[in-house]
Symmetry: C2
Subunit: 226 residues, 2 copies
DNA sequence: CGCAGGATTTGAACATGTTCAAAACTGAGC
DNA sequence: GCTCAGTTTTGAACATGTTCAAATCCTGCG
């Protein structure tokens, strides 16, 4: 993903050490207020060593984002294995990410920095983050696997849920209520609503709406394998 | 909004001149690739003069964003005055912004840079941009004024439409189709759908859904005057 | 051992956003 | 016209992200 991954064990350790020190400092002082000098100082290496392992300061954030994604997948797989109904699985997926992010709201914000800049390697909707996005959507795919859904919804739902999660994550960052319970409740409510709509989507009155939504999204190339 | 506005006529002119030169360069080379030195050079002033008028490079982008908003309001007021039906008015509001942004997709992306950082003065959802956001939502409020809507929808709709617009703007930035027609079609379709749903919202089957949506959003503090 | 070749690490530069104290300018009041 | 207070403008620093060529370290091999 970045340069070449370190090829020796020592290199791997150094990389990890720099990463840990950087996260510590980011958590203490925020991303912008932390200088590469400070990171290097705490990690007891030269400033340029950090650049040997990370292409730039923001790449450290991307590594953090990947770590969060790893963790969410671990947590969710464990929960999904214990079955649970659909709603519980979806809620687990959402809240898992919130739980992981809750101490790092300042950090996570940086992940969204290049949302509007398609070419930027760190754009959270761009090519540089495709892998992580695919995995993130995959969690929802796994959550709804086993449900008997029409094929079109099978494609639509994971992307829709992922979008919902991204939106809620932003709200989460702005939410100053204790433990971000407002966002968490909204997440629960939105999921409940989604499931209700899923049921309603079969009603005849709503058939044209459903068709319309799907064709719109397909035309806009917002669904996998257009 | 920034420091104090320039207080003499000459100052106003200089500010404007620096702003124009900066936009030229941003359009030619993109935001990040343009240095303050270059801006100052083209404007034929000292680098620090730019900092006298703008607190930083990104403040120039915010000024640009404000200029776009001014222009959208002018355009929309003119169109709204010629009445037109609801759908036409909403479409006009959406497309007006697209039209203004279409030559500046690289610039506009920067507006979204601090979306995930509530404290940042340029966060497009934060306190520092409240004024511009209020005006942006206001355009939709004006577009639907004159419709006879239930009071709750009267509050909900402008915010919902504004959110839709923000989301579509991001898609717009990623849309590589000629003239971004994909996004424009999606916008049209989404509006049509919104109006259809508005009509459906009165159906008895959907009453609980509507109530639920509203109470959720209200609880999440996502509606004006809680 | 001693060396070759790669991986790691370094320190010294560089580029550029930002700050600041001082200089230059301007215009109102005398 | 002169003075003075406020505004504008400047050049020189500074802070910090980033680059790079060289030095050092390691490891497998003869």
């Amino acid at each position: 993903m970045f340069k070449t991954e370190p090829s020796t064990d020592k290199g791997e350790q150094t990389r990890r050490h720099i990463f840990d020190c950087a996260l510590e400092l980011f958590r203490e002082n925020g991303f912008d207020a932390t200088t590469m000098q400070e990171i290097a100082l705490r990690a007891d290496v030269a400033k340029s060593a950090a650049y040997y392992y990370f292409p730039g300061k923001e790449a450290i954030i991307q590594a953090y984002y990947e770590a969060v994604q790893d963790e969410q997948e671990r947590v969710c797989r464990r929960i999904f294995a214990g079955s649970g109904n659909l709603k519980a699985r979806l809620a687990a997926a959402m809240h898992a990410k919130f739980d992981l992010a809750k101490e790092d709201r300042k950090l996570l914000g940086v992940v969204f920095r290049y949302t509007g800049e398609p070419e930027h390697p760190l754009s959270c909707l761009g090519a540089g983050t495709e892998e992580i996005r695919r995995r993130s959507i995959g969690v929802f795919r796994e959550a709804i696997a086993g449900e008997r859904l029409p094929k079109d919804l099978d494609q639509l739902l994971p992307v829709a849920l992922w979008s919902l999660q991204m939106g809620l994550l932003i709200l989460f960052l702005y939410d100053r209520s204790e433990g971000q319970r407002r966002t968490r409740r909204l997440a629960d409510g939105a999921l409940e609503l989604t499931l209700k709509l899923l049921a309603l989507a079969k009603l005849p009155v709503l058939k044209p709406v459903r068709t319309k939504v799907l064709s719109l999204l397909r035309e806009a190339d917002l669904l996998p394998e257009g």
